[in-house]
């Protein structure tokens, strides 16, 4: 699905409806990350918990998550500067749950478009795409939609090459179909303990990928 056909793959900055320009302000911070996390609030909030400092900072990770972002917003950001000057070896992508105007097909297409963009700008990098989590206290249409996106990604991402898909949402829905506020304090965003749960799998995969890749020589060190 090309960008002309898929609105979820159409790069778009966030329009400042509130009036304080916060989206545009969130910019590039650190120097030479090995791992780049990019996405929505699921990514952004992770950095505020201890788990980031303990598990991901040691991997020289940079966090480009912005709450509320859709695939369009992430695409725009990556096309408009956020990939300049950095060469992460692994990019972790977690976005799609905020694409309320789009179908599951369109959302999956948007995520694919982002992965393709990353690979074209960073040809030697690998990508980890995190599956969309279930949301809402009880079964609801958004859970079905997110699951459908995940199924599409599972099928299509491997064809892009060095892209791995992982679904970390398995443990959150209990046998009665409910999600606990101990895992998602507002039935969307993760608590500290839930982030710890998903971080184990993610961390292992990151270590594995980083080990498989020869470290690039930094030109500045020569």
């Amino acid at each position: 699905m090309s960008a002309e056909e898929n609105p979820a793959a159409e790069p778009a900055p966030v329009i400042d409806v509130q009036g304080d320009g916060r989206w545009m302000s969130q910019e590039c911070k650190d120097a030479e990350p090995d791992v780049l996390f990019v996405g929505d609030s699921m990514v952004q909030l992770m950095q505020q918990y201890e788990v980031w400092r303990e598990v991901f900072s040691p991997l020289h990770a940079l966090n480009f998550g912005i709450g509320g972002d859709t695939t369009c917003n992430v695409l725009w950001r990556l096309q408009n500067g956020e990939l300049e000057n950095i060469r992460p070896r692994v990019v972790v992508l977690w976005v799609g749950t905020n694409n309320h105007e789009h179908t599951a097909d369109q959302v999956a297409g948007g995520i694919l478009a982002i992965a393709q963009l990353v690979l074209s700008r960073l040809p030697r990098s690998k990508i980890i795409v995190l599956g969309l989590l279930p949301r809402g206290e009880f079964p609801n249409p958004l859970r079905e939609k997110n699951a459908a996106v995940n199924n599409l990604l599972r099928a299509s991402l491997p064809q892009l090459g060095p892209v791995q898909f992982i679904d970390v949402g398995g443990s959150f829905v209990h046998s009665d179909g409910a999600i606990s506020s101990r895992d998602m304090f507002d039935f969307l965003h993760l608590t500290a303990s839930a982030y710890r749960t998903i971080s184990t799998t993610l961390h292992e995969l990151l270590l594995q990928m980083l080990e498989e890749m020869p470290q690039e020589r930094r030109a500045s060190l020569v």
Binding site: V17, Q18, G19, D20, G21, R22, S25, Q26, K29, Q44, Q47, Q48, Y49, E50, I66, G67, H100, R135, G136, E137, F138, N140, P141, L142, R143, S181, F185, D186, F187, L188, H189, T191, A192
Partner: protein, 238 residues
Amino acid sequence: MKTWLCCCGAHWTSSGVMSEDANPAATPSPCQDIQGDGRWMSLHNRFVSDSKGKEPDVLFVGDSLVQLLHEFEVWRKLFSPLHALNFGVGGDATQHVLWRLVNGELDHISPKVVVLWVGTNNHGHTPEQICGGIMAIINVIHQKLPHAHTLVLGLLPRGKSPNPLRERNASVNALVQAEVASLSHVSFLDMDPGFILSDGSIAHQDMYDYLHLTPQAYQKVCQPLHERIKSLLDKHAP
């Protein structure tokens, strides 16, 4: 129905609830489930059922600045020991908090102190309307919990650089502070330890998205808040 006009431009009825046509920020309104997963109502229902059988001394109510506080270490260290409950919902504006309090969240508990932090999400409302919304909430709390003291927290500045929302929030604070000065069951606490730097910017180390507080920033603002709550609890002792 007879209504009274308050200096904030808010209209009051004899039941204490704002009349509908006057101020949207003071008209109890549930959040519409636009996204489709019913989370707002889930949270409200959980708060109502959570409140049965619990005996909090302190109730925190408001928007994401309240809600997120619960997720960081500072809550466990400073506020759990005070037997506090947290009824914060991200995105809530004054009319949403008002609806929640009118519809059950205060019905099964008698906290001694209610900490209210809301107003920054009232987009499209004037400072006078937002103040009216906050006063409406204070009024409902006083009706339902006549012995409780309400501590209203000042709205924080937001955005990386100077912008109209900072001015709006500062105006709300000035209006609210003036309104509550004459009320013995309410007090106001300015929560800004000086987030705006000399160049007018706010640091992302304090607000990671120039709106929400980092854990370090919460530590900074919660110390004085903790002290104030403790002194209110001490005064409240029978």
